[in-house]
Amino acid sequence: MKSPIYYKTKKITLNVLIHLFLISVAVSCLFPLVWMIFASFKTQDTIFKDAALIPKVFHFENYYLAWVKGGFGRYFLNSIFYTVSVVIGIVIISSLAAYAFSRLQFPGKNLLFVMFLVAMMIPIPGSFVALYILLNKLHLRNTPAGYILCMINVGLSTSIFLLKTFFDKMPKELEDAARIDGCTKFGIWWHVALPLSKPVLAVVVIFNALNVWNEYILALIIFDSKGFMPLQVALQTFQGEFVTNYPLLMAGLTITVLPIVLVYLFMQKYIIKGVMQGAVVG
């Protein structure tokens, strides 16, 4: 018989090893973020001359300048509006479709699902021009609605695919119970399937939020007026054709990253809480 001390040391060693591994990965992840934040307090001529990570003088005014010069206020609101609308749209539309693909029967189901899959795969190189012409014909060009619909479409296939994979995995018993209780299909989708799939819905939200938040090329092409542009467009003004204003760019990037970090912080709770609590509530 081995002594309890043996088991204890073994467990501690294992834990130490795991932590060492986790910490080394964590450091590599943290470094660029820290660098970006420190760089955002430097000036254009110290950012490259001064090799030290931490600046000697902190130029907090960079944030103010970035906010004002980039006209962040308006763009910020636009970006939040687009992100929220697109994410709500995608979550509702794709979870409905994914639920149908996973649980319901109807003719043409497999064909349609394969079509969504294929759509995920083919990059359309000229899609910007095509979308431009299409939106123009629909009188949706240079309107937020047109942009939002395009962005919903961009995230749709991947989200359906993600959600369907998880719906397939979920136990059917709860749904059966709900059906016996007299729930309709929409009721089951809303009261059972969605709460059960909180972890993956959180992934879908983060995935699409990041996607919309970082998009600027489509916005640039279909919007003519500044008033509609998202935040990323403001960042482009700091990296000119010839001159890049690095400190302001880094300050801008730091500002832009914050909301995504918040979304992630908020959403990862749901990834962790998982099925068990969800099942009880639902």
Binding site: F31, A100, L112, G126
Partner: protein, 295 residues
């Protein structure tokens, strides 16, 4: 009654299908049709060339096939290293471990960082003085391996691998998130039941975790393949261009045809061929997973 039920089922997919048809299928058909034309993207007139573009790509465009090979290599590294790392980290964070909330937050930093910052910082870490700190090479010297020192981002034999590794670093957060979500949906009772039955940690990992995670792994794998398409932004950030073809990827080639040589039709055909290749690869993964699930 049956009919009503089917109609109700269609209602579930209706919004998705409508958006999909208007905003995906119509542009797609337009692009598909352009693949058979010569068009510079500006003139109102296009010349029909039939399968000419496709023939040219298949037989006369070695740089295109080279970019496909490069993308294949990046995908391979991402599929193996990136997903293995993501799975390990997700598994570690799924356990009762200290600081796990901290790790969960940190591991998702790379995906949310802009490619520009990633390119600048990793370029700085890797490149030797005066362009950077040369940390990798200094580390190698410190470890007594001076003959491994090289210009990781300026040597033709290492540039693609370096790019692929940084791409994997940037992307593992997604795999981590998806695996974590997958692991969290495995009911804890299963593990407890196994414990009661006398299974050790390794047994419950191979008998419970792995089989239940197969569909999630496939999902992560397919998303990884799609993620490789985005590698081009990072490549531009790290090496500025295609590095004499050593770092070219299909999206860069498509953009080059569309933008720099104004061959819009040709770019469309390239897109279609690339799509077909992606579909075949993903389909193979799907089949493979079905077998794995059954077997």
């Amino acid at each position: 009654m049956r009919l009503k039920s089917t109609l109700e089922n269609y209602l579930f997919i209706l919004p998705a299908v409508v958006i999909f048809f208007i905003f995906y299928v119509i542009p797609f058909l337009w692009v598909f049709q352009l693949g058979f034309y010569n068009w510079d993207g500006i003139l109102p007139t296009k010349t029909f060339v039939g399968l000419g573009n496709f023939k040219d790509i298949i037989f006369n465009d070695p740089s295109w096939w080279r970019s496909i090979r490069n993308a294949g290599f990046i995908t391979f590294i991402a599929l193996t290293l990136q997903n293995a790392l993501a799975f390990l980290l997700a598994w570690a964070c799924d356990r009762q471990i200290r600081l796990k909330n901290f790790y969960r937050l940190i591991f998702f930093i790379p995906p949310i960082l802009s490619e520009l910052v990633v390119g600048m910082v990793w370029g700085f870490i890797i490149r030797d003085n005066p362009q950077g700190a040369g940390l990798i090479n200094r580390g190698l010297v410190a470890l007594g391996l001076p003959n491994l020192v090289r210009g990781w981002l300026s040597d033709k034999s290492t540039v693609l691998t370096t790019v692929a590794l940084i791409h994997s670093w940037k992307g593992f957060g997604w795999g981590f998130l998806i695996f974590l979500a997958g692991l969290q949906t495995i009911p804890r009772e299963l593990y407890e039941a196994a414990k009661v039955d006398g299974a050790n940690a390794w047994q419950s990992f191979t008998k419970i975790t792995i089989p239940l995670m197969v569909p999630v792994v496939v999902l992560a794998a397919i998303l990884t393949v799609l993620g490789t398409m985005q590698a081009f932004v990072l490549i531009i950030g790290l090496v500025g261009g295609e590095f004499a073809g050593h770092a070219s990827v299909p999206v860069l080639r498509i953009l080059a045809s569309m933008r720099y040589s104004s061959r819009f039709g040709y770019a469309c055909s390239q897109g279609i061929i690339f799509g077909v290749i992606l579909i075949v690869v993903s389909f193979m993964q799907y089949r493979f997973s079905k077998k794995a699930r059954q077997g």
